[in-house]
Symmetry: C2
Subunit: 483 residues, 2 copies
């Protein structure tokens, strides 16, 4: 019994009506996640986890190509470790879950479930690093981390999430800073070229930097509802953790010195960005590079032609998959072609091929793009090249569209009134002058609800005065409401 | 300053002197792990973690080829969940760590850090499975798990360890049992063909089965000290968890039925087996398929020939890596060739190539096998084929040697005295008749220190009487001292 062609579309609230509901509708309808019976936790269902696996594979390759190796450190961190870096403990203490009993006994020292691993890794590095010959140490870890957040949202902010955290140690500040920049560039390359999401690169203000860092660099992305999302961060930790954990080395000049460390991470929240940057009222839209299925073949036409059409469709599937294109076919007879069209659009598959008897006889096949909805008949003898070319086009077009949206929604504010007006009525990123005083930054946060996203490395313009106090601006800063 | 050629060998206790110390010496000297500052936890250092990554890749491919998909479920499990399967709670309760506080507040319900995920996955499956159309559910999870063990040993038994746990749900018992068997066969194939470790396949006795399972299948391996190690398990859980968590489906006959579930897992303890099956007094010995580096090239000869030799060695490296062989070169001048020979033998690299000026002029290169120590000069124009062939030979030879050792140390006991004598004086696996009574099994455990490993699917012989009580034997059982 074919299901109704349109039934599921009703399940997705239009973005214009309620973006938050649209988001939840889409991730549930596309079967990416489910709520777990533990506060603020989700289950990553196979279709959601497959997206994370694709990210992992891409990132892991980039990390290894730049000389990093994977390792694994314990989930539990003794309470005393958090006391060794003052800012760090203040930043993370409110969010920690504590193991107080184990194996039927009360523990002498409470164990935190890791929110991030600078402390325990710092403790180990102090033992591994003795001489300049042991440097640099370039290690990455794929792991689960926990932060007991008050307000949670699937993928974007959950009590437990998955991420990678890189932790490196260097002989000099210059080297460590170069590493911090290198990793930010790797994240930028990954997010822009693999996920087709344009980013705003810059440095966090002191109020927004990582607890314990000297400086934090970030890439920020703009969601379709005009809110920003921090996509990845890379921290130069200076000698803060080195001093807290006594990570010293004997340098070539025979002096004992503290190392300079970095850390950098990207998490499953990037999946939220992927959905909110590209999705539309029809559902998910996946850039070809990350799409687990890039092409879906759907045989159509009357029952009497079925066998001939399916045989032909199977042949096309074989030809396409020989080019290492991820292609599938849905020849299920329990659902109608119309239902399938909607279903796979909703799941964000970049290309649909409709194979029917008439096109078949004409030596062609109908191809539909998810990004534009364009439909075209293509010659079967050019099938592989056309599909290959189109996947490249779609990837580029999705990036271009997102880039255009980000540009149209990046504005410059000469005054506080202007800043406030844009944030309240248009959202998006707003560049404003800042004197460097925390008070002015906090004023903006309190009065407009926007936070500083970062200080761009290459600002579109250099603003002269702080929009709050009117003194000379030290920096031009991106502000936005954010997730 | 070249380090002394032999210095490190002193750091490894001979196996014959003290096998346990040998094991710890090797894993520390080969830099596979370090002790963590949390009781019973270790750090997987890059060289150790790389072995696990290789296992993951191999297993993940096999799981996906058989239709399984990855997902991720929460780390924390509410206390009440453990009450829903009686045997399960009894089995795991003594080993659980409990989170009792989070985000600055005492939790209303304690959360266990997962020791295994049957309960929370059962809870989710109850919501995902409604109809026979939803079956089978074939999901796997790569995760960290925690069991607060009293006695720990690196890799073999640690408070936190890494593993995969497959969890499937089926409409019928037959299907679920077929899945359980299929996964045991996949583990067998992986352990025997990839890790070159022969295994004893069979079913666990009721006393040794997984807490909550109807039946547990296992593969067991024999370490060089004569002790057994459980390498992987696959459980048919019947309807136990389905009933505990109300996982029901509407079948084709319009009846509501409980599903049949399975679970199966292999963990980082397999790395302990890898080391203890193949290692020797010179250190690690890695089968070529898992070795992160399969061939190590070491340029030798006088300083004045150095440049010419290194250039030539680089050329050989390029040629070999074109065949997708994992090859590295150590041209470091701070350490002597002799030191390098020992170092890479200790690290278990299957093949060493010594490249010197005289061999070079003769159109040959010296090749040394880690498994046999054999040294041979080979013609450079046959280099790639020879290395490729040899890697295959080494893999097979390591399996053959381990298989021979396992066979020589598998004995049949006709009486309790004989069983006890073998266990105390020779160790290894001992097959003995068993009446099926738990009391007889416990008697053997208490009096000999050996536990039942499994009831082989294809026993070498069918024994007639129980070695403890003398009644008719229902099964022939493998007994061994074990890790
Ligand atoms: Zn100001
Ligand atoms: Zn008996």
């Amino acid at each position: 019994m074919p299901k109704s062609d349109k039934s599921f579309v009703k399940e997705i609230t239009p973005q214009s009506e309620d973006f938050s509901r649209w988001y939840i509708d889409v991730i549930r309808r596309a079967d990416l996640m489910d709520y777990a019976p533990v506060r603020g936790c989700i289950v990553f269902k196979p279709d959601g986890y497959a997206l994370w696996e694709a990210c992992q594979q891409e990132l892991d390759r980039r990390f290894k190509e730049t000389g990093h190796r994977n390792a694994y450190f314990p989930l539990f961190i003794p309470e005393s470790f958090f006391q060794k870096e003052k800012e760090h403990v203040e930043g993370f203490n409110p969010e920690l879950p504590w193991v107080t009993e184990a194996g039927g006994e009360k523990l002498e020292e409470r164990l935190a479930v890791r929110p991030t691993s600078e402390t325990i890794i710092g403790h180990m590095y102090a033992q591994w690093i003795q001489s300049y010959r042991d440097l640099p140490v370039l290690i990455n870890q794929w792991a689960n981390v926990v932060r007991w957040e008050k307000r949670t949202l699937p993928f974007l902010r959950t009590s437990e999430f998955l991420w990678q955290e890189g932790h490196t140690a260097h002989a000099t500040a210059e080297e460590a800073i170069a590493e911090t920049e290198q990793m930010l560039n790797i994240y930028t390359d990954f997010v822009e070229n693999f996920l087709a999401i344009p980013v705003f690169k810059g440095q966090k203000t002191p109020l927004e930097k990582f607890a314990g860092a000297v400086s934090t660099y970030s890439i920020e992305a703009l969601m379709k509802d005009g809110k920003a999302l921090q996509a990845a961060t890379s921290h130069y930790l200076g000698q803060n953790f080195a001093k807290g954990f006594e990570i010293q080395f004997l340098d070539k000049d025979n002096e004992r010195k503290y190392v300079h460390t970095t850390s950098w991470g990207i998490s499953t929240r990037i999946l939220g960005a992927l959905i909110m940057v590209h999705g539309d009222d029809r559902g998910l839209a996946l850039p070809p590079k990350i799409a687990p299925t890039q092409v879906m073949i759907i045989p159509i036409g009357p029952q009497k032609e079925r066998e001939r059409v399916v045989t032909h469709a199977k042949d096309l599937l074989k030809r396409i998959s020989k080019r290492n294109i991820r292609v599938q076919m849905d020849a299920n007879e329990d659902t109608s072609p119309g239902w399938k069209f909607n279903e796979y659009e909703m799941r964000g598959i970049p290309i649909r091929l409709e194979v029917g008897p008439r096109d078949m006889d004409a030596g062609q096949v109908v191809l539909v793009r998810r990004d534009t909805g364009d439909k075209q008949a293509i010659a079967i003898d050019k099938l592989e090249e056309t599909v290959e070319q189109l996947l490249t086009d779609i990837q580029q077009n999705m990036y271009r569209k997102a880039k255009q949206f980000a540009e149209e929604n990046s504005r410059i504010a000469a005054s506080f009134t202007e800043l406030d007006d844009i944030i309240q009525n248009q959202r998006g990123f707003v560049l404003a002058g800042w004197c460097g005083d925390n008070v002015c930054e906090l004023t903006i946060k309190e009065k407009t609800g926007a936070t500083s996203r970062n200080i761009p490395f290459e600002p579109p313009t250099h603003l002269q005065t702080c929009v709050v106090c009117g003194s000379e601006a030290k920096h031009s800063v991106w502000y936005a409401k954010s997730y």
